[in-house]
Structures are given as structure tokens and as C-alpha cells.
Amino acid sequence: MISPSVDNLVAQLTRLPGVGTRTAHRLAFHLLQRSTPEANALADAIREVKERVRFCQVCGNLTEQEVCGICQDPRRDRSVICVVEQPVDVVSVERTAEYRGLYHVLGGSLSPLDGIEPGDLRIGELFQRVQDGGVTEVVLATNPNMTGEATANYIADKLRGRTRVTRLASGLPVGGDLEYADEVTLGRALLGRREM
């Protein structure tokens, strides 16, 4: 107990993902030692994103406009939609510079244990986009874990017969050594091996 406002700052920082009490203390003391403008810059940045950034009305990605830059871009292929769980996954797929289609951000994955059901994700909006026509392929890029797989299965079932549905392959990281691959990943890669 140093001062109520420091305690409050520590408590707020602890709520961030991956930050424990010890890290929160370090961050709080670091901020106290900085100049006032420097510390305020962080506060302003937080306020600004909360005021300006919202979800794209079409795909659910983060944007400062009604519709995000990707959805507005005339060069993108409008016949392909890549379905991801979170906006950060869009960033990952974009980094490949291989994908030229559009996105659909679900906002999470199905998990009844956490009370998350199809109605809580932007799944209805995805079906509507397919319904509206012009979509020839939906790429399911949900996480390769249990809830991600269940979400992908659910969407694939519902879209069957309406458009082509594909799922990201799972396998080995490129540039790595087989020696360092865990057995489960290597086992999946072996199951998904291809003819050469």
C-alpha cells in the first residue's frame, strides 16, 4: 500500500492479459518515473483507440471508418472469404502477402463452457454474406485447437452445398528442424502427407 492511486494503476494493469502483480508493479513505477507528457501519451493513445476504432460493418475487422480498408479495396478478390477468430489473425494472414481475398472476423470461437454460442459470434453475418451471392470459396482459418475445430466444423456444415469450403492445413513450421517438432504436430503432418 503506497498510495490509493498507485494501487489502482497496478490493479488496472493486472487486468491486462499476461500481466501479473509483479509486472504490473514494474510498469506502474516505470510510468511514475517518466515525464508527465510521456505518461499522458499512453493514456491519450488508449483513449484515442477507444474513441476512433470500431468494428468493420462488413467483416468485423478493426477500422476507423464504417467499412475497413480491406473491404473497400477494389483490388481484392471479392469471391473468397477467409474466416478468422480475431482481428489479430487478419494481421497474420496479411503478412503472408499471398491472400488477396476478403476476411470475416468471428470475434472468438464456440465455447459453451464460456457461454459462447453461434449467436454470440458473427456467424449469422457470414451466412448473410454468402447468401448475398458472389462468394465461391470460404477459407476456414480458425485456430487449430478444439474450440477452433468445432467452430470450423459448425460453419462448414451450415455452408455445405452453398459454396466451396476449405480449411487451413496443419503441419510443420517452415525452416524448422524435424528434431524440434513436437510429436503431435509431426504426427498430424505425417497424416496429411502428400504425393510428390
Binding site: L113, M146, V184
Partner: protein
């Protein structure tokens, strides 16, 4: 190696430390703070050895509040549990009798761990299946509470069916690998016609749909390998209910020895065997039989209160007293 010493000298503690250093966790408890001596800041185990003829070093430290850190040959591991895949070890402790005489859940847990060691690429299946059942049960209760409809249940029924079928197959394979070796070890220890029986119930989507209303009423998935059991028999006699304490002990020991052989064959090197207090309950003939059954290309560490429990070379004898160990 035979570790001898009076009760309370620290023999089991030595075994536990070796297990911790090779597997990343204690066979006795998952609460790592319990492994730190009262009044000290942390615990550390360092082990040197050879595997497949090449030397290795492990160092594991526990600091309450900071967790466990493990290094293999000087390189830090992401988690201490990764050691398990590197340095296989099997353990027998007197409380392992629950594998035979305990609830089906204890047997499922034991055979699922054996599955993970024998079929490493499928080691995550039991956990994934349990998570799918947990999600489906949560969905069932939401349907019962009218928070949700049966359509939201469908993806979880599909997951339980898919992972359940894979788990049943993996368990059948693991038990098919273990069963012949189990029969051989059990016979040598005087338990004739040892058998392991497993008939998994594959939860197909149709079968799950057929009992949907009952599942919704009870709020749990009432079909699938999370309810299976493994029969452990001698001839037609079920040792789970009709085995004597001695027979149940021999059955557990036979399981450990059988798995050691299977691992040695599949991985090209025997696992480390840690046998706690196994000799005291065996007569002389069985003690000698046990020594013959130990894997030839692996190492075994046993504890005993009596130095004459087994005939060993002086270099194989560890004398434990007051928490200190010296080579006898």
C-alpha cells in the same frame, strides 16, 4: 540400483527427486510448493546420465511463486513437463494399487498415460476428448436451462464423436501393444494367464443423437470412452474385484514391467524404472523373478528397508540415512 535404509531415511525422497528431474513433476503431488523444504527459498535437482550412449545433464529448479524451470544439457526448456518426452521413466509406488483396485477413472487415467508414452503423436487425445466432453456437457446444461437450442449442441456432438472414435482406436492399439508383454511378466511373477480387456464404446453421432433427451435431462454425456474401463484378469478371474492384495500388487508391477519392455522395443532404449518399496511384499522366489524381468538395456532404482532383500554388487547399493546417500 538398490537404495536401502531405515524408515524415514529419505529413500522415497531420492526416488521422487529422480522422477522430478527426469519427468518434470513429482509422482506424489502436483503441488510443486510441497517439494520445497520448509524454511528454504527453493528446491533444485541436478542429474547427470547417459541415454543411448550419449551423456546428458538435467537441472530443475522450483521457486514458489516463480514456478519450475528445467534445463536439458544447459538449454532451457519451455516447460519442465517437456522432460517427459525426452527421458522416459516409469514408477511403481505402493499407492499405485489403485490402478487395479480403484475406480474405472483411475484405470482410464493410467492407461491414457501409457497411451501417451507408447503413441506419442496421439498423446494429446485424452485431454482433447475430455475438453470436448466438457464443452458438450456445458452445451447440454444450457439447452436444459433454455439458454440455448439443440442446434448449438451439434458441433460438440460432432467433436465428441470424432475425438471419441480416435481415442477408442488409440486405446485399443496401446492395450494391444501392452497385453502380450503383460501376460509374460504376470506369468513369470506367478499370476497365470494375465489378460487386459478393453472394449471401447465409440460414441457415433447417431448414437449420441438417439440419447439426446436423456443427456439433456442429466446434463452430462452418457456415452463414450470417458466411461470405459479396462479389465485386468488372471484367467477368467477379474482382479479388480476378486484379486487379493498380493495379486493386485503383482498385476500393477507386471503392467509397469510390460510397458518398460514395450517402450524399450519401440524407442530403442529402456526407460528408467523407479520401484518404491516393491520388495518387502514379495517372497524370495518372486524377488529373484523380478530381477530377471527388469529391462536389460534400461536402469532400475529400487528402495528397500533390508540390504539383503536382493543380491547386488557393492557398486549397485546406495545406503540412505538421515537424508544422505552414499554408495555402499
Amino acid at each position: 540400483m538398490l537404495a536401502v535404509g531405515p524408515n524415514g531415511a529419505g529413500k522415497t525422497n531420492l526416488l521422487e527427486a529422480v522422477h522430478l528431474a527426469t519427468q518434470g513433476f513429482s509422482p506424489r503431488t502436483r503441488a510443486d510448493a510441497e517439494l520445497v523444504r520448509f524454511g528454504t527459498a527453493g528446491a533444485r535437482v541436478a542429474v547427470q546420465g547417459t541415454r543411448h550412449g550419449t551423456p546428458f545433464e538435467v537441472e530443475l529448479t522450483i521457486r514458489p511463486g516463480e514456478g519450475k524451470r528445467a534445463k536439458l544439457n544447459g538449454a532451457a526448456l519451455r516447460t519442465a513437463e517437456q522432460l517427459r518426452a525426452e527421458l522416459p521413466a516409469l514408477v511403481f509406488t505402493p499407492d499405485r494399487l489403485v490402478v487395479v483396485k480403484g475406480s474405472p477413472a483411475a484405470r482410464r487415467a493410467y492407461f491414457d498415460r501409457a497411451l501417451a508414452r507408447l503413441l506419442p503423436s496421439r498423446s494429446s487425445l485424452p485431454v482433447e476428448y475430455a475438453a470436448a466432453v466438457g464443452q458438450r456437457n456445458a452445451a447440454l446444461r444450457r439447452v436444459a436451462a433454455r439458454l440455448s437450442d439443440s442446434e448449438a449442441l451439434a458441433p460438440w456432438t460432432a467433436q465428441v464423436a470424432e475425438l471419441g472414435a480416435a481415442l477408442v482406436t488409440a486405446r485399443e492399439e496401446a492395450i494391444a501393444i501392452l497385453a502380450p508383454a503383460f501376460a509374460v511378466k504376470a506369468a513369470a511373477l506367478g499370476l497365470p494367464e494375465g489378460r487386459l480387456d478393453y472394449t471401447g464404446k465409440v460414441p457415433t453421432v447417431e448414437a449420441l443423437e438417439a440419447r439426446l433427451q436423456r443427456d439433456i435431462d442429466r446434463g452430462i454425456t452418457g456415452l463414450g470412452p470417458h466411461l470405459d474401463d479396462v479389465g485386468i484378469r488372471s484367467g477368467d478371474r477379474d482382479l479388480r474385484s476378486y484379486g487379493s492384495q498380493g495379486e493386485q500388487r503383482l498385476a500393477v508391477l507386471s503392467l509397469v514391467l510390460a510397458e518398460a519392455d514395450c517402450l524399450a522395443e519401440r524407442r530403442g532404449g529402456g526407460p528408467l524404472l523407479l520401484l518404491d518399496d516393491v520388495l518387502s511384499e514379495l517372497d524370495r522366489t518372486r524377488r529373484e523373478a523380478l530381477v530377471q524381468l527388469l529391462p536389460a538395456n534400461g536402469q532400475t532404482l529400487m528402495t528397500s528397508t533390508a540390504a539383503d532383500a536382493l543380491a547386488v554388487e557393492p557398486g549397485q547399493l546406495l545406503v540412505v540415512s538421515h537424508g544422505r546417500v552414499r554408495v555402499g
